[in-house]
Symmetry: C2
Subunit: 415 residues, 2 copies
């Protein structure tokens, strides 16, 4: 059972938006055992869309299309699909029209002809409601294969997928594909590969290993099982392999699947009944953002002081003004006082702090762009460590944040 994801829209091809839709769709299809064979992005161009659908139907059983269903003139997906599936009869889908009317009413906008026409669908499709937007989704069938077209707005698409997935499950008999990922941080990919070489060589043939390195989440090790075994036995087998990996990689392992460094640290904090605060200079709130992206983080996170100016470091965090003068804001002295200062000011048990030169400006010979001091304060002690990261601002912000959360996690494990 193969699927292809086709995203339609010039905005992807000219690099104006990041395609997160196909990530979500691929993930959801994988969970029900469907292998995504290819992803293709094409422009809002009739001929190119049709060529792509022809090719996709030749290799795949399921085609998921997103984009090009908006109300404006550059959106042509619906018309092209009607033509592709051989109809020119469009009819109003009343339940979708009602949703559109309600949406417009809630936004206090009169219903326009443009909006009304969004409820018009080719008569050969099965309409799927879009409860969060004006463009309904469409399900087409051809020779035992299906095509689903959804709007490209991510949260509308996600909600629609919760209906599409069970429809696909019902329509097809599905083989077992099962993925599970072990998350590691702090060991470079090539070193990791050497460390687990023997284990990898002994991996049974039907288990496939992939390395997924990422600056914000370390190296993730994914095992995929393509065998026809039942999901339960695969799960058990992979868990046994993960246990062996944990023995080799020890504390470098921080979780599985969709966990992240922040939620892993959060779990340890909750086990201790402890609360966390952060004091961020160069990371500018990114650590707090990573923590609070996790639902339920208020159980272990009290808050953060983003101390971008020295004034805030001094007044709110209690850093010695003379230490900033003597050692600079990017120094062991200052970052330790920031960590301890926020721990006390925000009445937390643990704290992390960052102070660095994110770039592109502000570097000196002695402290080049990418220099970052990171501190962790616990109820017992304060530790700090200097890193030289990159020349790139966004990389420095995300790597410093990940390193800080990992330092915290390792301290929590030791405590």
């Amino acid at each position: 059972m193969k699927a292809e994801i086709v995203t339609i829209g010039d905005e992807i091809l000219i690099g104006q938006i990041v395609d997160t839709n196909s990530v979500y769709i691929a993930e959801q299809l994988n969970l029900i055992g469907i292998n995504v064979y290819q992803k293709t992005s094409v422009s809002d161009n009739r001929k190119h869309i049709i060529e792509t659908l022809d090719r996709a139907f030749a290799t795949s059983d399921i085609i998921i299309v997103t984009g090009g269903l908006g109300p404006t003139s550059d959106d042509i997906t619906k018309q092209v699909l009607a033509e592709y599936f051989g109809t020119n009869s469009m009819k109003i889908h009343e339940p979708s029209l009602n949703i559109i009317k309600n949406l417009m009413q809630r936004l206090n906008i009169p219903l326009s002809e443009i909006n009304r026409r969004q409820a018009e669908l080719p008569d050969c499709c099965i309409p799927i409601l879009n409860r969060n937007g004006t463009a309904p989704a469409m399900w087409f069938e051809r020779n035992g294969k299906i095509l689903v077209a959804m709007p490209g707005v991510p949260f509308e698409m996600k909600a629609i997928m919760t209906d599409v997935i069970p429809m696909i499950s019902e329509y097809f008999k599905l083989e077992n594909i099962y993925h599970k990922t072990l998350l590691t941080y702090g060991i470079p990919e090539s070193v990791l590969a050497e460390q687990i070489k023997e284990w990898e060589n002994n991996l049974p043939k039907h288990l496939h290993l992939a390395y997924l390195p990422n600056p914000e989440s370390g190296v993730r090790l994914r095992i995929s099982a393509y065998s026809g075994d039942s999901r339960k036995s695969l799960e058990k087998e992979i868990d046994a392999q993960f246990a062996a990996l944990r023995t080799i990689l020890k504390t470098a392992v921080y979780g599985e699947n969709n966990e992240n460094l922040a939620s892993a640290a959060g779990k340890l904090l909750q086990q201790k009944g402890a609360m966390l605060a952060t004091a961020e200079s160069c990371t500018g709130g990114h650590i707090a953002n990573m923590i609070t992206a996790n639902a339920g983080s208020s159980k272990y996170f009290v808050g953060s002081v983003v101390a971008y100016s020295n004034d805030v470091k001094i007044k709110t965090l209690g850093v010695n003004a003379s230490d900033i003068e003597d050692y600079g804001a990017v120094s062991e002295q200052v970052v330790c006082q920031m960590a301890q200062g926020v721990r006390i000011a925000l009445n937390a048990d643990y704290a992390v702090a960052t102070s660095g030169i994110a770039g592109p400006e502000g570097g000196t010979n002695e402290k080049p762009v990418g220099t970052v001091w990171i501190a962790v304060a616990t109820p017992q002690k304060i530790i700090a460590q200097k890193y030289i990261l990159s020349k790139l601002r966004d990389i420095n912000i995300s790597r410093a944040s990940a390193i800080a959360l990992n330092m915290l996690r390792l301290e929590l494990l030791n405590d």
Copy 2:
């Protein structure tokens, strides 16, 4: 002149990583007037890679490949490309080997055979140095068309692209394609379409308009010019069209091209010589993160208090404990005190504050998930506004952050 971007790697097809590489590559190609015809993601599978290259060479002049160049056994791109371009002779590229040696030395890791082999390249390619990683890039030529293969690690790829772009410019004679984007916030796409209908109908045929809606940046209006005119005259023509749009859309326009809501507010703050602080509850540091993602933000941003717990709201921001008790943390009273409190505590001129229920838990009948209060404090006054956003945590965090920055921007325009 057409290009195709091909990303290789199972991790994209199973939805484990977001493909930001192709966004960057498309953007860079566009800047030199190259149209990306298609983007394709395929797995680490020899046959599928070869089929894809055959199809891509049939329609495109430039093929940019990323991924599958890592040191581990699942990475097969280099071998497949050697086969595809008809060689089995691999030779060590000494300058790349030196980079690898230096990298390993800096990381204090002995040079492994795996690492050494990364410097082995097919003899028919032109090697391109990767100064930030172990996998060099490769340039292949065939019948006046080219293929460039780069590693998939984003910051390595980006640095390599700064060499690749001039190489492409030199190799090909390039037509003029020019994009410019006007950024708007606060008007829904369909309403915007009605407002600019007359203007759009009068747009010259060689200018192509696209609507790019996004919850974090509003609706962006992009004009593309595919004509053979010189870049300067196109630029002038599009600027005149943008001036007309600004007259229609007024303060909904916040910038052009790569600006963002935070940098737009930052520009206005700098004009006033004013400093900003934020107090964030439900947005958890995301506003500070959006602000500090912009280089130079320390010129107008002092910092933030992420007040996740009520304790921090009371102690650090000076919110009345009794008001939290009487009205709840998600209330006009509390959010106004947060804004004013952080403005004073952090000694800023302006402040924004958020307090809401991001979800998925914590909602009540009276205040459902998605309820957010946002306040802006200026030197003269405090304003606050309630919004009911969505049921989704990530959407609520990013929309509340964008709305807050836009409220601030509008206040700065009025002040």
